[in-house]
């Protein structure tokens, strides 16, 4: 099989036969090169970080139940908001959606026995562990407090040790991202089973491909910016120190050149999950396969040129504010194409309301709102008013919670039987969905109004006139906290005791369902042969059984 190391030494060491029949439990805690083990490692680790980041959010929402800063020390509050954002992005959604589902599913979907570079793959997972350790460890030094954006000069003068640890954590997470991206690009490009054409590639793989290209080109620029910040904090340089001629806005450009595409890193794989889950449970071919595949690539391309919309109130000249208004608005077009295509996929289907499908439809419902508020934010005149307010918080939680987290949940329910060989309990799943859906809207919908009316984000104390709405949000947040419980119970219980699932419990058509559940270590005894598209539903007459 393919090798990861950069030298020749390992060539041939890892062959098809050099592994046990089945992994033991402790194999999941080792430097294992099996893509499925790595996928599970990513999923479980990132979910643990999701819980940690979620607890931070609950602490913040508790603080915001009253206008005064009375529960948390304001600096600790800032440490929570910084690390909540950082953990949710770099240790939950990115590793969960790309690392977890990507690693587990891509080889299975394209008929490969593993990723192109298994050792590199394992390395990419294991560097996320020090990233998490650094972030959590930074709390012993006060925690980074400058927001996940870490704008200098604030990041240069607050909690230096913790800030440096934060930078190193992001560099580790970024390294993981780049290594993963190289692996995915090569795997999808070169390792497809020979009978699979590009237009038979499942849309999830298209999405991962687009994501990887984006990660590959944007992450190093963030790394560059953070290295400079690290030097400014620790080695006496003055790249971002205005007194010595440094330019603080330059940091913002370097930061957002990565961090806007990072938003697409978090949502493109979810779009991929949507395109898999919806056709299966609606029993219909995906509507507009090519349009969805190309729109991923369009988002990836346009997404590299919209970053200044985060800086409309910063030190940016008028032409820049206008250019990036227009480029940002353009992103709405390919995104709309996807949403319309999914709705059209539902149209005329025979929708089965499984938990996976409920989360997928829930995502669709909320993402529409997140997309529309995104358009308003993309225009400079309105953004001038709502930038850095709760309107922005509302928008990106609709996209990242209503979008990404719902997508990951949909993926969990959809592929859990494949990963474990057991179904998740549908009753608990539906309870989980209802609680999460209500909680999400209760928490984030009122925030739109807060922002429009004048409440800035990232504050531990606020004008008392906003108290009622804030209390609704806090209530919603705690409901969201509770909503995790049925899922956790369900996942832990079903992992070993859930109803047994066969190789293809949903009667789906992509290749991962052609093997056992859970798949054998090399995925298939005999590699499958692709005879038709991945979404050929309702076409029994074409099927050769």
């Amino acid at each position: 099989m393919a090798q990861a190391n950069l030298t020749d030494r390992g060539a041939g060491n890892f062959s098809v036969h050099h592994h046990p029949e089945k992994w033991k439990w402790y194999d999941y805690f080792t430097f294992n090169v099996d893509h499925k083990v790595i996928g599970i490692q990513y999923l479980v680790t990132s979910f643990a970080f999701y819980l940690i980041g979620g607890l931070m959010a609950l602490a913040m929402r508790a603080e915001l139940a009253t206008p005064n800063s009375d529960l948390l020390d304001p600096n600790l509050y800032n440490a929570f908001l910084t690390n909540h954002g950082t953990i949710m992005i770099f240790l939950w959604i990115v590793p969960g959606a790309i690392g977890g589902f990507g690693n587990y599913l891509v080889p299975l979907m394209i008929g490969a026995r593993d990723m192109a570079f298994p050792k590199l793959n394992a390395l990419a997972f294991w560097v996320t562990i020090p990233a998490g350790a650094l972030l959590l460890g930074s709390f012993f030094f006060g925690g980074a407090q400058a927001g996940w954006t870490s704008y200098p000069p604030l990041s240069l003068i607050t909690a230096n040790t913790a800030q440096s640890m934060w930078i190193l954590a992001i560099v580790f997470a970024g390294t993981s991202s780049i290594l993963g991206a190289v692996n995915f690009i090569i795997t999808i490009w070169k390792m497809r089973v020979p009978s699979m054409d590009w237009d038979q590639l499942p849309l999830f793989c298209w999405a991962i491909l687009a994501t990887s290209i984006l990660a590959l080109f944007s992450t190093p620029v963030l790394a560059a910016g953070l290295v400079l910040l690290l030097f400014d904090i620790n080695f006496g340089t003055s790249f971002f120190k205005p007194d010595a001629g440094g330019d603080v806005v330059m940091y913002q450009h370097l930061f957002w050149f990565y961090s806007h595409p990072a938003v697409y890193l978090m949502i493109l794989p979810i779009f991929g999950i949507m395109s898999e889950v919806i056709p299966v449970h609606a029993r219909k071919p995906i509507f507009g396969y090519k349009a969805i595949a190309y729109s991923s690539l369009t988002i990836c391309l346009v997404g590299l040129f919209v970053w200044v919309h985060h800086m409309f109130t910063s030190g940016t000249p008028p032409w820049m504010r206008m250019f990036f208004t227009v480029s940002t608005l353009i992103v709405a077009v390919p995104t709309g194409v996807k949403i319309f295509s999914w709705v059209a996929t539902l149209w005329g289907g025979k929708i089965r309301y499984t938990s996976a499908m409920l989360f997928a439809i829930g995502l669709l419902v909320m993402f529409v709102l997140g997309g529309l508020s995104g358009v308003t934010l993309g225009t400079a005149p309105v953004d001038i008013h709502v930038h850095d307010t709760y309107y922005v918080v509302a928008h990106f939680h609709y996209v990242l919670f209503g979008g990404s987290v719902f997508g990951i949940y949909a993926g969990f329910y959809h592929w859990f039987p494949k990963i474990t060989g057991h179904y998740l309990n549908e009753g608990l799943g539906k309870l989980h969905f209802v609680l999460t859906f209500i909680g999400t809207n209760l928490t984030f919908l009122p925030m739109h109004q807060l922002g429009l009316q004048g409440m800035p984000r990232r504050v531990a104390m606020y004008d008392p006139q906003f108290q009622t709405i804030n209390q609704i949000c806090t209530f919603g947040a705690f409901l969201l906290g509770v909503s995790v419980l049925p899922f956790l119970i369900n996942a832990i219980w079903s992992w070993s005791r859930g109803a047994k699932a066969g190789g293809n419990p949903w009667d789906a058509k992509t290749l991962e369902w052609t093997t056992d559940s859970p798949p054998a270590i090399e995925n298939w005894e005999v590699l499958p042969v692709v005879t038709q598209g991945p979404y050929a539903y309702g076409e029994e007459h074409l099927t050769v059984e």
Partner: protein, 203 residues
């Protein structure tokens, strides 16, 4: 259904295909990784150009750059890229001796470059923290120097391995190729860097 069609002939050939493929894939993987690396340097380049445009004097008085030594260094590094290619050509003909000779020369040239760099640092008279220009200068050249160092280690690694009989051959030289590609990358970055930091001061 996209079915599993049993075909034994396919599975028999499978392992061999996968194995052969990965020989190519590592080189491809490196190339894609280097695209990413280059963007990190690009971040520094853009930063440098912006600061240059914003500053009243760039480089400020007292922190002028040396030109002669870096020019010599540039010649050494650029020509080493040709030298290393001879090594690659040699191994493609199965000539391990040739590979070792040319890679040894490349390694020596790389080492000379690094020593030149260190000598330059020692004699410049200003340090990392002197001013914004020196910040950029040391960070960019230092970061590049780190890459040269890694490239050097890769070449030395190839030399170390080549002692083993039959480790490299006309058909089996991915490691050699990767070291070469990496060295070219380091070289290309240097050419841009040299133009930005040194040549632009002439204008």
């Amino acid at each position: 259904m996209q079915g599993t069609v049993d075909s034994n002939s396919q599975s028999a050939g499978d392992a061999a295909i996968a194995h052969e493929e990965h020989q190519d894939l590592r080189v491809l993987g490196l190339l894609i990784f280097l695209c990413s690396e280059f963007l990190m340097f690009a971040g520094f380049f853009v930063l440098f150009l912006v600061y240059r445009a914003e500053a009243a004097a760039w480089p400020p008085e007292g922190t002028e750059v040396e030109l002669l030594l870096p020019a010599i260094n540039t010649v050494i590094l650029v020509s080493s890229s040709f030298v290393i290619h001879y090594g690659d050509v040699a191994i493609k003909k199965g000539d391990v001796g040739g590979l070792r000779k040319w890679y040894l020369i490349t390694a020596a040239m790389g080492a000379v470059f690094l020593c030149g760099q260190i000598y330059e640092y020692a004699t410049l008279g200003y340090g990392l923290t002197t001013n914004l220009f020196s910040n950029c200068f040391y960070l960019m050249t230092g970061f590049h120097g780190l890459h040269v160092f890694i490239g050097l280690l890769l070449i030395l690694g190839v030399l170390w391995r080549s002692r083993r009989e039959g480790h490299y051959g006309a058909e089996k030289h991915t490691g050699v190729e990767m070291a070469e590609i990496y060295w070219h990358f380091v070289d290309i970055v240097w050419i841009v860097l040299f133009s930005l930091i040194y040549l632009l001061t002439l204008i």
